[in-house]
């Protein structure tokens, strides 16, 4: 039982990395296909050495990511419930039809999308503010930065438990302060609390990524904007934001992918009760609790596909081009 669960469980964690490698792998082949300069002996030897040096890492990646992914795709094409092992058979895409016509899946999908959109948007705004504060602080810079990063340093499950206790009537001050009943027993307030916990936890991460972007804005550019007649707000919107665009996109991409796979906070705060399940939560319930490897794997694969689409859209549509290049060429 547990043997079967391990590789399939691992793919949820692995899909992010495999996604990244997939991207990287396609780029050189595309380039190579476009123009073929004649290679000298020296260049060939260099290329061979490069491939050899990459090989160990590539092999490890295949072992820990490619295999689980392929295995879970294989599982998703079967009727495979550990409670009824005798009924195991290959059924093609039937599992996908089952999941995609199921209202629980779409409710979870809606919840996940809502959490993703709201948390990432709020985190972007708060993170930007925090990044500017950290960037501009002159005294006690280390202290300010460290304290801003504390939420991100706390283990998610631990943080989630403190939020749960804080919102539970009797044990928590927040519940007594802000509501009469038990907020974690109603759908709307539960979702709000889940999003609050997420935002509290990962805003520092966003801020950190954005701060790196802020450091990319040359001081002279802001000075030039000042003498050109820009107000503080105009400097921010017309000079800083465009220059920071690549950093912002990277931060958004990271956070969107993370947020879409939200699990820990929901698991601890509501355990998916009152229709607050995310897709990851639903996959977990089917796979680990329900022991339905077929349906669970199908959900995992669907999450993987969604995440891949999100990444693709970010990279392709918005482009990670550095500002200033005319043709929006990649990197």
């Amino acid at each position: 039982m547990s043997i079967n669960a391990t590789p399939t469980g691992a793919d949820v964690a692995a899909d992010e990395t495999s996604e990244a490698t997939g991207q990287r792998a396609t780029v050189p082949t595309q380039r190579g296909g476009r123009r073929k300069p004649p290679l000298s002996e020296n260049k060939k030897a260099e290329r061979r050495l490069g491939l050899l040096l990459c090989a160990p890492a590539a092999l490890v990646m295949i072992a820990v990511t490619a295999y689980p992914i392929i295995y879970s795709v294989w599982l998703s094409l079967q009727r495979f419930d550990l409670r009824f092992p005798d009924q195991r058979e290959f059924i093609g895409l039937e599992n996908y039809v089952t999941v995609l016509t199921n209202e629980f899946w779409w409710t979870a999908f809606g919840v996940t999308t809502l959490i993703t959109v709201v948390t990432v948007a709020v985190e972007l705004v708060l993170g930007m503010g925090l990044a500017i504060i950290m960037h501009r602080t002159l005294v006690g810079r280390g202290l300010v930065r460290t304290s801003a990063l504390i939420p991100y340093g706390i283990v998610t499950v631990v943080a989630a438990f403190s939020w749960r206790y804080a919102w539970t009537p009797g044990t928590g001050y927040l519940a007594d302060l802000f509501s009469d009943g038990a907020p974690l027993t109603e759908r709307a307030s539960s979702l709000a609390i889940i999003m609050l916990a997420e935002i509290w936890k990962t805003t520092p991460f966003m801020a950190l990524l954005l701060m790196a972007g802020l450091a990319l804005v040359p001081e002279d550019l802001l000075k030039a904007a000042s003498t050109d007649g820009a107000t503080a707000w105009q400097k921010f919107t017309k000079v800083m934001l465009p220059v920071m665009k690549p950093a912002i996109l990277v931060a958004l991409l990271f956070r969107t992918l993370d947020a879409f796979r939200v699990f820990d906070n929901i698991f601890v705060l509501t355990a998916g009760g009152n229709e607050t399940s995310s897709v990851s939560m639903l996959a977990y319930n089917n796979l680990i609790r329900g022991l339905n490897l077929g349906i669970g794997s199908t959900m995992s694969v669907l999450i993987f596909i969604t995440v891949a689409i999100i990444a693709f859209v970010f990279v392709k549509l918005f482009g990670t081009a550095a500002p200033g290049s005319d043709d929006g060429e990649r990197r």
Partner: protein, 402 residues
């Protein structure tokens, strides 16, 4: 267009360092003034204070007669050009140049017209739709200039605008800047660390050292009549030769021989606190191959013999380096100048005399050559405070003056 007045302007930082000290400067309407000095002399800080990018600690800054100490940069109506050009990377050349106009909320037609005009002046018309990343250094520099001129501001402030260009282009752009300034007649303050740029560009040059103004004047005046050792050493390329000179029996004992002194300098030296040791300064072009000097000229100077170290033929004339014995001139100013030139720890440059002789001189390396120098062009400096003792009412008259 406007005049700019700095009235005892100072800048000190919270940690106590004083970057700029009591700078008094009146820049007339339409004037081209250069702030020059070694790095850390406060020239850029002064410029930033005029721009409003740094606060003024004390003193008053007036643009067009109006106190602007507390005005934000955008309310001062000045345009600035940066060494890094500071072009907005996400905007095209046209958008870069239109940016200040768009912020000023001009209508689109006016903006287009002004940008096109400025682009024409700077020959940027064909580049208007490019992004800065696809321009060469010289083109970027011109865009930065264009962004400054489209607004017709009260003043241009330029912070080492040509320093990032290669040598040939820098010389070319120098004339462009100069011509543009004359055409527009806009008051311009230009910061540079390059004394050649300072000499060639400005109506007046302000030489700064350690946050204080050393001397203000037209380039030629600074060159001919330096107020002190620092100015004398900073202006001119190759720079002035400095020799140790001991006052003895009404003469100066130097490595070039005994130099006679005139009545005026003698009177200076008779004062009770007058120094016994001086620094003698003489520019390379005031030397000449003794063979080539006619008798009339010969009388105004004196001669010496020294071994030739290196000959650099420039075509139009020859730079000849002589090895002279004797004590080295030493003063705080000279050390600072050497440090700025990066030669502080390079002893190989010491003990040599740089001369600029006519191209006809048959001088060759290794031989000992007889050289004449002009006593009327000698400067004498007090090593303690760097003051030029040969300066009388702002005019240097050489060692022999009566």
């Amino acid at each position: 267009m406007a005049d700019i007045v700095l009235d005892k302007v100072s800048k000190s930082f919270p940690d106590g360092t004083v970057a700029v000290q009591d700078v008094d400067l009146e820049i007339a309407d339409g004037e081209f003034v250069i702030l020059v000095g070694p790095s850390g002399c406060g020239k850029s800080t002064t410029l930033n204070m005029i721009a409003g990018l740094e606060d003024i600690s004390s003193g008053e800054l007036r643009i067009a007669g109006q106190r602007v100490n507390d005005k934000a940069p955008r309310d001062r109506d000045i345009a600035m050009v940066f060494q890094s050009y500071a072009l907005y990377p996400n905007m095209t050349v046209r958008e870069n140049m239109a940016f200040p106009l768009r912020l000023a909320k001009l209508d689109k037609e006016t903006i287009d017209r002004k940008v096109d005009e400025a682009a024409k002046v700077l020959e940027l018309t064909s580049l208007l739709d490019r992004k800065p990343a696809n321009l060469s250094g010289g083109q970027r520099q011109r865009v930065a200039m264009g962004r400054a001129i489209v607004r017709q501001p009260k003043a241009f402030l330029m912070d080492e605008p040509l320093s990032n260009l290669d040598a040939k282009l820098r010389v070319q752009m120098r004339t462009v800047v100069s011509r543009l300034q004359k055409q527009l007649g806009t008051t311009t303050v230009y910061v540079t660390h390059d004394q050649t740029e300072a000499m060639t560009l400005g109506d007046r040059v302000v030489i700064m050292r350690g946050g204080a103004v050393q001397q203000v004047g037209p380039p030629q005046e600074l060159y001919d009549h330096p107020k002190n050792l620092f100015v004398a050493g900073f202006i001119g390329s190759p720079s002035m030769n400095f020799l140790h000179a001991a006052v003895q029996d009404g003469e100066l004992h130097t490595a070039l021989g005994k130099v006679p002194i005139g009545d005026r300098v003698r009177r200076e030296l008779e004062a009770a606190d007058a120094p016994r040791e001086l620094i003698l300064g003489i520019r390379p072009e005031h030397f000449e191959d003794a063979e080539l000097v006619d008798d009339d000229t010969r009388r105004r100077g004196m001669e010496f013999e020294a071994p030739v170290d290196i000959v650099e033929s420039m075509g139009s004339d020859k730079y000849v380096y002589f090895t002279v014995e004797g004590e080295k001139a030493s003063a705080a100013e000279l050390e600072e100048l050497a440090a700025d030139a990066g030669a502080a720890d390079f002893a190989g440059a010491g003990g040599n005399l740089v001369t600029r002789l006519s191209a006809e001189s048959p001088v060759a390396e290794g031989q000992t050559r007889r050289v004449w120098f002009n006593l009327e062009k000698i400067h004498l400096f007090d090593p303690a405070n760097g003051r030029n003792l040969t300066l009388h009412e702002g005019r240097a008259a050489g060692a022999l003056a009566d």
